[in-house]
Amino acid sequence: MAKRSAPEVNAGSMADIAFLLLIFFLVTTTIETDSGLNRKLPPMEDVVDPPVIKQRNIFTVVVNKNNDLLVEEEPMEISELRAAAVAFLDNGGGKGADACDFCQGARDTSSSDNPDKAVISLKNDRETDYKVYIAVQNELVAAYNDLRNREFKRLYPSAGLSFVDADSKYSDPRTSSSEKEALKPKLDAIKKLFPQKLSEAEPSKTN
């Protein structure tokens, strides 16, 4: 009997099959946008005795229904908002117990006493566009981040990171726990210097 060798399977169509699968996954893939601005809402229960905040420690930002910005009763462009917020937070006009020894601002007595006391109040109209609101939020967060970066670099020059980098490193699941433990007190210290006090009022109704 003649010895028959098993015929070789033709693998020429393998590429076609693989291409088909590849195209299927290419089409169904949505690279998810999973980043954004994290915020914390205030709890629902009413504060019985709201703390009294001095007017000079409040930085009011109002966005009206035409998406115009009113900062401290003055109209302003969004591009100027970051600098204005930094100037307000970093002012450090307080004396005595409220004095701020790391602030580099103008120390204007009519502006905020201490970053710890300074509150940014954001108010928007029900007809404000969401994207403008996000732009404003973004600039206010940027003001905090700028100041925090500055202090982080000043206090921990050996880390070689900015606050934002250190924070994202801290929340990255791949960072080892020993590194996280080293980062946490530094981050907490900076957050204590410039606490993010961003209060949002309930929106006003349009008449």
Partner: protein, 160 residues
């Protein structure tokens, strides 16, 4: 002379395509691993606004998504052009948000129930009124960690 001639002769050999399947498979595996199957089909317009001070969101199992925006073209006939909320695969009203959050929370593991984040994927053209209503509902059910999901990009893109 003949020595050289010998080598010169002959056509260019055809490029072997034997490794083509391997290359394609490599790409295939990359996309298979990187793919996140969307668990709900979008029924609203969803052009996210841009921001550059973004933070990464938590792991996917700790996040619940709320979509909002104008209904997409094929739903406009039925649902109109007013911005609406989408929860899972359905359009919903503001009053449904609380129940949705509680149901989502109950479906998660015990240890995750307190660390859940609500991601708001809202179209840039939406009015803030709807978002404030959602936020009020979230406060009522004590879901206080929220994330305004954005594209990464410069904020000036939002102002056009």
């Amino acid at each position: 002379m003949s020595k050289f001639k010998k080598k010169k002769g002959g056509e260019l050999p055809a490029i072997s395509t034997a490794s083509l399947p391997d290359i394609v498979f490599m790409l295939l595996f990359f996309f298979m691993v990187a793919t996140v199957m969307r668990d709900s089909t979008l029924m609203v317009a969803n052009t996210l606004p841009a921001a550059d001070q973004v933070q990464k969101l938590d792991k996917k199992d700790r996040v619940m998504y709320i979509y909002a925006g104008k209904p997409s073209d094929r739903y406009q006939e039925k649902f109109g052009t007013q911005a609406k909320i989408q929860l899972n695969d359905k359009f919903a009203t503001v009053q449904d948000v609380g129940a949705f959050v509680l149901a989502e929370r109950a479906s998660k593991r015990q240890e995750l129930q307190n660390v859940l984040t609500t991601a708001l994927k809202v179209d840039g053209e939406t009015n803030m009124g709807l978002i404030s209503d959602i936020k009020q509902e979230l406060r009522k059910v004590n879901a206080l960690k929220i994330n305004y999901t954005t594209r990464s990009g410069d904020y000036t893109q939002n102002l056009k």
